[in-house]
Amino acid sequence: MKSKKHIINLVLGMSFATALFVVGCSSTENAAVAKSGAELWGENCVRCHNAPSPTAFGDIQWETIGQHMRIRANLTAVQTDKVVEFLKMAN
């Protein structure tokens, strides 16, 4: 039982180490770079709640909400910036 526990801990620990390592050498040519802000909004902003309409808030509010969601939803910087740009354009 004890050793099983340690193995699970180890696996979890290693996943995090790998994650941090991957952060260091991630490729920049990814789907978020290729997709439009509208696409990223349609895909990401529906995963927890209904996607908010761009007209729900003004430009300045969207910037703060963007930061809030980047943290809450663990989004990448590129995803967040593109979605916020789209929301500011479409409102």
Binding site: I8, N30, A31, C48, H49, A56, N74, A77
Partner: protein
């Protein structure tokens, strides 16, 4: 002579100053330009870099329970966001709630975040823990598709924590062209073991809200979320949290806890049904090293048990959002199965199974009226946190996000 020169210089200065002022007034008068004036006025309204946003959510409802029918709600949660710069955000949420003893004010979270770079954000304070997703990402009432929480996923944390005090790093990154991961790693005060000295009937339970820790050992935890599909529709998350939970300088000081959670989210458009499909699930497993506690049923004696608790739920909802009818495209159908297993040998142990089905009517993207029917099959797990564990119930809630 010297004095005279000074008076002369003073008079000369006064003359020039008044002259310039006069000239300026004249100039202003000559050059009055409505566009420029307007531009100046608009300039005074420039938002600047510091921003403040107040949002939040509220709910109200009526619950038809086995023994009583009661209006509930009268609570609201204001959220305060202070954006200090492009890199710094402070977030905080309060909960104002009516209770038996009056109005209660709770601090849900209060933490600051600093975006160090594209991949790394550091957070400190009291924050919602990324232990699974329900507590951090799905519990607000305008987001939760049903009027009740799954069994064991209570506000204070029953099997697994909701929030804690500490420090965290988090971020997200693409690992292939289409697949990306998000991660968080944190150190917090961690749960506290109730050793049963004062409350023998609770010996062995974990308490999660520790504003002052009961020992020097901190709990370490984290979550990794994997989004393998090109449209980010699927996320699978693994979480863990480990740490000692006993109070220093007691027989329990070396007792440790191991908390694990697996979560899943799948949200996609079903074109053939003109609907959105949303599947969510989470399994929490909390285990505490074995110890002996005073036996409330046999005074003066101790007893011990395998201290492992599980809570899990699976939820499916279908929102007929793309149907060409103004009534039906606001409807959502939800079903959830949830189970709580507390250590069978503990005096607070037992098993509960809950099934909830509901229909939601969405007034807009963040305002919903939820109708739900809930059954409970209980073999004594003492939830003790909610009237909803009384048995079958019919619930109507109106939730609104701001």
């Amino acid at each position: 002579m010297n004095k005279l020169l000074k008076v002369y210089l003073l008079l000369l200065t006064m003359f020039f100053i008044s002259g310039t002022l006069f000239a300026q007034n004249e100039e202003d008068f000559d050059k009055e330009d409505p566009v420029e004036d307007l531009a100046k006025e608009v300039n005074t309204l420039k938002p600047g870099l510091s921003r403040f946003l107040m949002r939040g959510y509220a709910h109200a409802g009526i619950e038809f329970l086995k023994d009583n029918t009661t209006f509930v709600g009268g609570s609201f949660n204001p959220i305060f966001l202070w954006q200090q710069s492009k890199r710094l955000l402070f977030e905080s949420e309060l909960e104002l709630e009516l209770t038996q003893d009056g109005t209660e004010l709770g601090l849900e979270y209060a933490d600051m975040s600093y975006f160090i770079n594209k991949y790394l954000t550091v957070r400190m304070g009291k924050f919602l823990l990324p232990y699974g997703t329900f507590g951090e990402k799905l519990h607000p009432r305008w987001i939760n598709r049903l009027p009740s929480n799954p069994l064991g996923f209570t506000h204070e944390g029953q099997v697994g924590p909701m929030s804690d005090l500490g420090v965290e790093i988090r971020g997200a990154v693409y690992v292939t062209r289409n697949a990306w991961i998000n991660y968080s790693l944190y150190v917090v005060n961690g749960p506290k073991l109730n050793d049963g000295v004062d409350e023998p009937e609770e010996g062995g339970q974990l308490h999660y809200n520790n504003y002052v820790d009961n020992n020097k050992a901190k709990s370490i935890g984290g979550r990794i979320g994997i989004l393998p599909l090109y449209n980010s529709s699927l996320e699978i998350g693994l979480s863990g949290q480990f740490g000692k939970v006993g109070t220093s300088k007691t027989a329990y000081e070396d007792i440790g806890s191991q908390l694990y959670a697996i979560d899943l989210s799948y949200v996609t458009r079903l074109d053939f049904m003109k609907s959105m499909l949303d599947i969510k699930g989470q399994w929490n497993r909390v285990s505490v090293d074995q110890a002996s506690y005073s036996d409330p049923e046999n005074a003066g004696q101790n007893y011990t048990f395998e201290n492992v608790s599980n809570a899990y739920y699976a939820q499916l909802s279908i929102k007929t959002a793309f149907v060409d009818n103004d009534f039906f495209n606001k409807l959502e159908f939800v079903g959830r199965y949830s189970k709580l297993e507390l250590p069978s040998k503990a005096v607070w142990g037992g098993e509960d199974t809950q099934i909830t089905v509901g229909i939601n009517y969405w007034l807009d993207w963040r305002t919903v009226i939820k109708f739900a029917y809930q059954t409970l099959d209980s073999s004594g797990a003492d939830d003790g946190h909610s009237s909803l564990t009384q048995g079958d119930a019919f619930l109507i809630h109106w939730s609104i996000g701001f």
